[in-house]
């Protein structure tokens, strides 16, 4: 009988290679082209999938173990939050607008990303790449679900959450995020990786999650802090995957550089526009603010993005084309979008409001070169109208950008007094854009972007301008879900419930 033999000691890398990458094989009964039909049409050349560097070498045993621990922690907090009326701990129910927007626009994006990663987790021929993408697919299901579960309790007590699934497909502002994820998923596997794995995860999610979740902590919302940070712990893996993927493409063949650069330009701008909604959440929707959008941009955009592109310069990659225009927009965008949301608040399933004097002081301090000059006067005007009993409402249709789908509310990069509006005629039809960045995305692939579903014209085509019928279709309860926070049911209930908690009435 054999004695116990000495086994070779395997290091982490070698063990991972054997347990994961060695599982695949070159098919011989079928051609690789049949098995991986979508990997060539984008023009990316890969000579050796074996050169792929695995960012985190997680095997399934470790994945289950660590993720289970995260899940146990997360649901313990969410349960306690629901059992103890944790919703009354938030600073003010105004804050919930940010969460409503998040659930309607971002959580469905997490789910879509999961679908997309399942697809590329199958379509890439390299085992290491596939497994990393598959884990991300699984994580994204997690994120969508933990977000829904964390916000479920708010839905029981507050308006605006109840129809998030309907809003995702039908209401107008969600199509900013929806069109972004649809755009990525309808692209090929490599472009998808640049879109979601690199631009969104690496360049932009820090801006989405870190300051926003710190904001949730400042505003007493432990449920959101928990899902945010818990999701973000997976993001560290995802970001690293995105970075490895871009380096891999650039190292495989010099011909890949112009294609990759084009995608970086496109997806930076697409992502930047989606984050416009986040800028508004940060500057306006948090009753107690942690940092301004400008400050967050300095840390996670300028400093972190700068470091990233200095690093990638060795491959010949330059910073995204729209970077300078983005920088010029930073001090304006949150104000421009909030003004837009306020005037169209009849059609949003969350509340907006006129910033208080205190809020305006804070905004003036954080945006010394722009707020007092351009935006305070407009808010003051709106405030006067509201005081006179004739609140400013725009029932006209917002003109939406054919690419990013935000209303055309942004100004020229070099002239904040001039509305930026670009037009392209394609096959006899005129299309509108909010910026040079969006126009270029369209012009590079017009046959794709003419297909975009634009939610505003729908109001006329389907409902002949009947706003009530449209509200019904998007499951928006007029007088509860929409309009000004001031005087809303959310405001009344929150004050009353807090009163119950803090007095003996």
């Amino acid at each position: 009988m054999d004695m116990k033999t000495e086994k070779k000691t395997l290091n982490l890398k070698e063990r991972y290679r054997l347990l994961t990458r060695d599982l695949g094989w070159e098919p011989s009964y079928r051609s690789a082209d049949e098995v991986f039909p979508y990997v060539k049409y984008e023009g990316i050349k890969v000579h050796d999938w074996g050169k792929w560097e695995d960012p985190f070498r997680l095997t399934m045993d470790a994945y289950w173990k660590y993720q289970a621990e995260k899940e146990r922690k997360f649901y313990a907090i969410v349960d306690a939050h629901a059992q103890n009326n944790g919703h009354l701990n938030i600073t003010d129910a105004r804050y919930l607008s940010a969460l409503k927007l998040f659930l309607q626009a971002i959580s469905p994006g997490e789910y879509a990303a999961g679908k997309g990663f399942a697809r590329v987790g199958r379509e890439f021929p390299g085992v290491g790449t596939q497994v990393a993408c598959q884990m991300q697919a699984l994580d994204e299901i997690r994120h969508a679900q933990t977000q829904i579960h964390a916000l479920s309790n708010y839905n029981k007590y507050y308006d605006g959450f109840h129809a998030f699934a309907d809003a995702r497909d039908r209401i107008w502002y969600t199509s900013v995020a929806r069109s972004f994820f649809d755009d990525a998923m309808s692209a090929g596997p490599f472009e998808f990786m640049i879109a979601i794995g690199f631009s969104f995860e690496y360049v932009l999610t820090n801006l989405l999650f870190v300051p926003f979740m710190s904001g949730a902590a400042y505003n007493g919302d432990m449920a959101t802090v928990t899902f945010g940070f818990s999701a973000q712990s997976d993001e560290a893996r995802h970001m690293t995957l995105g970075l490895e993927c871009i380096k891999f493409m650039l190292e495989q063949d010099p011909d890949n550089l112009p294609i990759v650069q084009g995608w970086i330009d496109k997806w930076f701008w697409r992502g930047f526009r989606v984050l416009g909604l986040v800028s508004t959440m940060m500057d306006y929707m948090l009753p107690k603010r942690v940092m301004s959008w400008r400050e967050a941009w300095e840390i996670y955009g300028v400093e972190n993005g700068g470091a990233l592109f200095r690093d990638l310069a060795r491959y010949g990659v330059r910073p995204p084309k729209g970077w300078d225009d983005a920088e010029k927009a930073i001090d304006h965008m949150s104000h421009q979008i909030m003004l837009g949301l306020y005037q169209w608040s009849f059609g949003t399933s969350f509340h907006s409001w006129i910033p208080s004097d205190d809020d305006m002081e804070w905004l003036a301090k954080k945006y010394p070169t722009t707020f007092d000059k351009y935006y305070r006067p407009r808010w003051n005007h709106i405030k006067k109208l509201a005081a006179a009993g004739t609140p400013f409402k725009n029932f006209g249709l917002a003109k939406l950008c054919q690419c990013c789908q935000l209303p055309v509310v942004f100004t020229e990069p070099d002239d904040p007094t001039l509305l930026c509006n670009r037009e392209t005629v394609y096959e006899g039809e005129k299309y509108h854009f909010c910026s040079d960045g969006c126009q270029q995305v369209f012009e590079n692939e017009p046959e794709k972007y003419v297909q975009a579903w634009l939610p505003m014209p729908q109001l006329f085509q389907m409902f002949d301008g009947d706003v009530a019928a449209w509200m019904d279709w998007v499951s928006l309860r007029d007088g509860h879900d929409n309009g000004d926070y001031d005087g809303s049911r959310d405001q009344q209930n929150f004050q009353q419930w807090r009163g119950l908690a803090t007095s003996n009435q």
Binding site: L12, L58, E69, V210, M213, A236, R237, M239, A307
Partner: protein, 89 residues
Amino acid sequence: MSTVFIALQANEETRPIIEAIEIDNPQAVVNREPAMVKIDAPDRLVIRRETIEEQIGRAFDLQELQINLITLSGNVSEDEDTLSLTWNS
């Protein structure tokens, strides 16, 4: 110079990890924010298993970092003993 960083949830499990990072990276700056600790360092940050083990008095697998990790920035390189973040700048 480029800044690399790692952010961890602020809790009892990460306290000794953060101490270990400070020991191994004297140039690092520790920022304590609500519910989160973000550690910045110029160009390079190294996390060593041994140093963490000295702080906590038990064996530690660097992959345990996953549980409390919030975000990071830099090229990641990981083996049994170290996890490093670097930028070429």
